[in-house]
Structure formats: structure tokens, C-alpha cells
């Protein structure tokens, strides 16, 4: 009886306040799109980090002859210095952070270099001019700075390079995009909440007579307020579902169908990530409606 009554009231309210309900749906739709987009961007960043950081390594370049770097003032690195550096990496305090160390000699560096030089531009170079280096794979790529600090001052070390620097610009851009999306989402969510508040208020005013009688004959406050709360929640949930659909098709067509085939060297997020974001969007929508109801209903349907 009560359930049927509540549902009937919800349907009635939504029908009577159709335009308002629709605007709630649309505003929550757009705002949750932004929330979802921000979340998906972060997931994409995490994915890229996992993917790329696993491949990158630290390069510790050792002093060549005639270097202009004052650290290399004593000339080319000696075998003793090389052993000392290797010792620091493999046995010292850093041993826990380092997964693998391998040494690239001048000759190996030269061979690699020549192999990549298809057009022979650098054919005048000789192996002596190349720099030997240690290539270090870290067990935790985030600990780069510790390893860099520990090795940078050692005798015979010219310069320490982290390949991640190449990606940091890209990540900075993606992070900025996340911040922008999140800021827009926050503004839109606020707008959505105010709109839900107004909708509930209008709905409560247009059904004043009913609620007045309900109070008078002693129906519980929850029964009086439930239809209004549900109205807000239904509209907001509608918006959330649209947002999920929007994100799904966005990821499906933009990323899976288009980017994945045109820019192939990147690991992309897919629609399964959208599904992991979807429940949160629904939670946000319902939470939003709940907060708006609490703010409004106390005043308009008081006991």
C-alpha cells in the first residue's frame, strides 16, 4: 500500500514538474560526465605510468675523456671507479631499490648508436668518443631521486639521467586536464544540487495541500518526504545513467576505435574502466539528491 502510494506520488510529481525534472537530468548528466572524464584521465595516467615506468631505466653516464664537466676534471673514468659505483648500486644502501644493473661499454654504446643511424650522419664518430654508462633498472621507479642523489656525486660519474623526464611533461598536461575537468565538475555539481533543491521545493509547494493533510492525519514524516526525495534521486540517477552512457560511447568510439588504431604505442583505458567508474557516478548522483533533499525538505514539509 505504502510502496504503491509512494511510487504513485513520485510518478505524479515528475510528470507535473516535467521541465524541472528534465533540467535536473541534464545538469547531473553534464556534471557527472566531467567527474567521470576526470576519473578516467587519472586512470589513463596510472596505466601509462605502469606501462612506461616499467620499461624505463636510469642511465648513469660515466666520465669520458676531455669532458667539460668539472666532475670529470680528472679525466676518463677508471676501472676502479667503475667497480666502486657498481658496488654502491649492487651492495650498498641502494641494493634494495635496484633490480638490475648492467654496464654499457664505449663499444656497445657505439654499436647501438651506429645501428640507429641509418643515414650515416654520425659515421665520423669513433668508439672512443662515446660515453660508457651503467643502466639501472629500479624495483620501484618512483624512488628515482634516491638513487640519483646517491650516485651523482661519486667520482667518475658524469651525469645521471632518468628517462622518465621525457614523460613528465605529458603527465603534467594530463594532470592539468584532470584538474580542469574536476573544477568544472565541482561547479556543475553545485549547480545540479541547487537545481535539485529548487525542483524539490517547487514539487513540495505544488503538493502543499496533500502534505498538509498527511501531516494532519498523522502520516510519518518519512512517508511525507519520501516521494520528494525519490523524485530528486530518480532525476539525478537518470542524469548519472546518461553520463555513464556518454562516457561509454566516448571511450568506445574515441579511444577503442580511433586512437587505438591510429596511435598504437600507447596502452589505453577501455570500456571496462568506464564500468568501474559507473557505480561511483551513481553514488554521487544519489548522494547529491540526498543532500539537496535534507537541505530543502526540513523546511517545506515540517512536522
Amino acid at each position: 500500500m505504502r510502496l504503491r502510494f509512494i511510487l504513485g506520488e513520485v510518478v505524479n510529481g515528475l510528470r507535473r514538474n516535467g521541465t524541472m525534472a528534465l533540467s535536473v537530468v541534464l545538469v547531473t548528466f553534464v556534471s557527472l560526465m566531467f567527474v567521470g572524464a576526470a576519473a578516467l584521465t587519472q586512470m589513463q595516467i596510472d596505466q601509462l605510468k605502469d606501462d612506461w615506468y616499467g620499461k624505463v631505466e636510469i642511465s648513469i653516464f660515466l666520465c669520458p675523456e676531455n669532458s667539460r664537466n668539472e666532475r670529470c676534471a680528472e679525466g676518463a673514468v677508471t676501472p676502479e671507479q667503475e667497480d666502486a659505483i657498481r658496488g654502491v648500486l649492487e651492495d650498498g644502501a641502494l641494493a634494495g631499490l635496484v633490480q638490475e644493473v648492467y654496464y654499457e661499454s664505449r663499444e656497445q654504446a657505439y654499436d647501438k648508436f651506429v645501428a640507429n643511424d641509418d643515414e650515416g650522419i654520425w659515421s665520423s664518430l669513433t668508439a672512443d668518443q662515446m660515453q660508457p654508462s651503467f643502466r639501472v633498472k629500479l624495483s620501484d621507479p618512483e624512488q628515482y631521486q634516491v638513487v640519483a642523489d646517491a650516485t651523482e656525486g661519486l667520482p667518475g660519474v658524469d651525469v645521471v639521467r632518468d628517462q622518465r623526464e621525457i614523460f613528465s611533461e605529458l603527465f603534467r598536461f594530463l594532470n592539468a586536464a584532470t584538474v580542469v575537468a574536476a573544477a568544472l565538475a565541482a561547479v556543475m555539481l553545485l549547480a545540479a544540487m541547487l537545481l535539485i533543491t529548487t525542483t524539490i521545493r517547487l514539487s513540495a509547494l505544488s503538493r502543499r495541500k496533500e502534505t498538509q493533510i498527511m501531516r494532519m492525519v498523522g502520516s510519518s514524516r518519512s512517508l511525507i518526504q519520501m516521494p520528494f526525495m525519490l523524485e530528486g534521486a530518480v532525476a539525478a540517477t537518470g542524469g548519472a545513467l546518461l553520463a555513464v552512457a556518454g562516457l561509454f560511447f566516448g571511450v568506445r568510439y574515441l579511444i577503442e576505435d580511433w586512437l587505438r588504431s591510429s596511435v598504437t604505442w600507447v596502452q589505453y583505458i577501455g570500456t571496462q574502466e568506464v564500468w568501474s567508474v559507473a557505480p561511483w557516478l551513481l553514488v554521487i548522483a544519489v548522494g547529491l539528491a540526498a543532500i539537496a533533499s535534507l537541505v530543502t525538505l526540513g523546511r517545506y514539509t515540517r512536522a
Binding site: M1, R2, E210, R215, M216, V217, G218, S219, S220
Partner: protein, 230 residues
């Protein structure tokens, strides 16, 4: 059934109290008229009983409950013990006579079976059998008030509060309504009726409580409307 102990209500700090230290006791099964001019405190008196307002001083007891201490979530239970009838009927214009009465039972969670057996009974009591499917605008004022009374009484509350129930009705129709209220009173229901209608009060010869400027100035068994005519 209803007891006010030095009940005082001040709406705005510093203003003259709307109800000033009023003490009244109304027993189960009483029929009481509450009279007084506009602004005498009648409405406040009724609001305190319905717990729409809390007293600023003194105590209010209704149907065994101490309303000063009644928490907000128990208020609906209090209201189920009080039927309320108003001057402006307060019917839902888009519901039929039957639906208007049934609404009161629906929203306190009564079963469909219970509603289907109780509502026709109640409509018969108020003399509206055969008009179940009418809309409120198709009824006369007196009939609309009967629907409102049916709605207020359908749950058989021990108390019926009537706020100027005949205020919008002509004298002939009012007599019919009073007969109905009297009948309800005879079932053991306590009836408290606020009114301006001196003829009715004089005719019925029931207990009269008179308020003036928020103070109780008369509490008389088998009284009449105006003191000066005693």
C-alpha cells in the same frame, strides 16, 4: 484527555503572549466549545493540542502524552489520535469523495482491505452514501464539510478538533453538521470545537471555554456564547 497547565505561548520575544497561563482540563467524551473573538488565542490553543506549536511555558497533555517532552518523530502518532476539521474543508480537489477519505488511511499505512471496509461505513455515518464518486467541486459546502469530517473520523480517533467547522456554511446546513458532531460525540469521542457561531453555542448548551486576549475568562458547563447574556 486534554489538559493544559498554566500553558503560555509567546510567539515573538517581548510581544504580548498569544496564550497566557491557561489551565483547562477536558475529560474523555466531553463536548466543549472554545469561543472568543479573533486574536483571543483560540487558534494557538488548538495548535498546542496538535503540537504544531510548543508552549513557551506550562505543560500540555493530550491523550496521555506530555507534549512538552514529545519528540518530533512521535508527533505523527499523536496526530493519529486527533481528528481535525477546518473551516475551509481542505479536501483534495483532484480526488473523489471516496479517495479523499481513503487518503487519510492510506498515508498511515492501513491495508487495502481495511480501507475498503471502513470508508463506506464512514460515508454512511456522515450521510454521503451514494456520493462516493463525486468530486469535491460537485458537492455543496455542507457536503464537503461532511467529507472532511468523515476523513477526520475514519480512523476513530478519541479526540476531534474542529476549527470553525460551520464558518463557511449557512445556518440550516450548520445545524446538520452540529447534529453529526453530536452523534460522533455520543460514540465517546471528545469533541473540541472553536467557533464564532453564537446561535449554535446557545442551542447546544454544552460546556463553553472562553478566551480573551490569551487569557481564560470563562469555563462554564452548559453555557451560552456571550457572558452578558447569562
Amino acid at each position: 484527555m486534554i489538559r493544559l497547565d498554566n500553558a503560555t505561548k509567546v510567539y515573538k520575544r517581548g510581544a504580548r503572549p498569544a496564550l497566557d497561563s491557561v489551565s483547562v482540563e477536558i475529560e474523555r467524551g466531553d463536548f466543549v466549545f472554545l469561543v472568543g473573538s479573533s486574536g483571543s488565542g483560540k487558534s494557538t490553543f488548538l495548535k498546542l493540542i496538535l503540537r504544531e506549536e510548543r508552549p513557551t511555558g506550562g505543560d500540555v497533555y493530550v491523550a496521555g502524552r506530555h507534549l512538552n517532552k514529545l519528540s518530533a518523530w512521535r508527533v505523527p502518532h499523536l496526530r493519529r489520535e486527533i481528528g481535525a476539521v477546518f473551516q475551509d474543508f481542505r479536501l483534495l480537489p483532484n480526488k473523489t469523495v471516496y479517495q479523499n477519505v481513503a487518503f487519510a488511511l492510506q498515508v498511515i499505512g492501513k491495508s487495502r482491505h481495511h480501507i475498503q471496509s471502513t470508508v463506506p461505513e464512514m460515508l454512511e455515518l456522515v450521510g454521503l452514501s451514494g456520493k462516493e464518486r463525486r468530486m469535491p467541486h460537485e458537492l455543496s459546502g455542507g457536503e464537503q464539510q461532511r467529507v472532511a469530517i468523515a476523513r477526520a473520523f475514519v480512523n476513530h480517533p478519541p479526540i476531534l478538533l474542529c476549527d470553525e467547522p460551520t464558518g463557511n456554511l449557512d445556518p440550516g446546513t450548520s445545524v446538520g453538521i452540529m447534529r453529526l458532531l453530536d452523534r460522533i460525540n455520543r460514540t465517546g469521542t471528545t469533541v473540541l470545537m472553536a467557533t464564532h457561531d453564537d446561535e449554535i453555542v446557545d442551542q447546544m448548551r454544552k460546556r463553553v471555554i472562553e478566551l480573551r486576549g490569551g487569557q481564560l475568562v470563562r469555563d462554564q458547563d452548559r453555557g451560552v456564547y456571550g457572558l452578558e447574556r447569562v
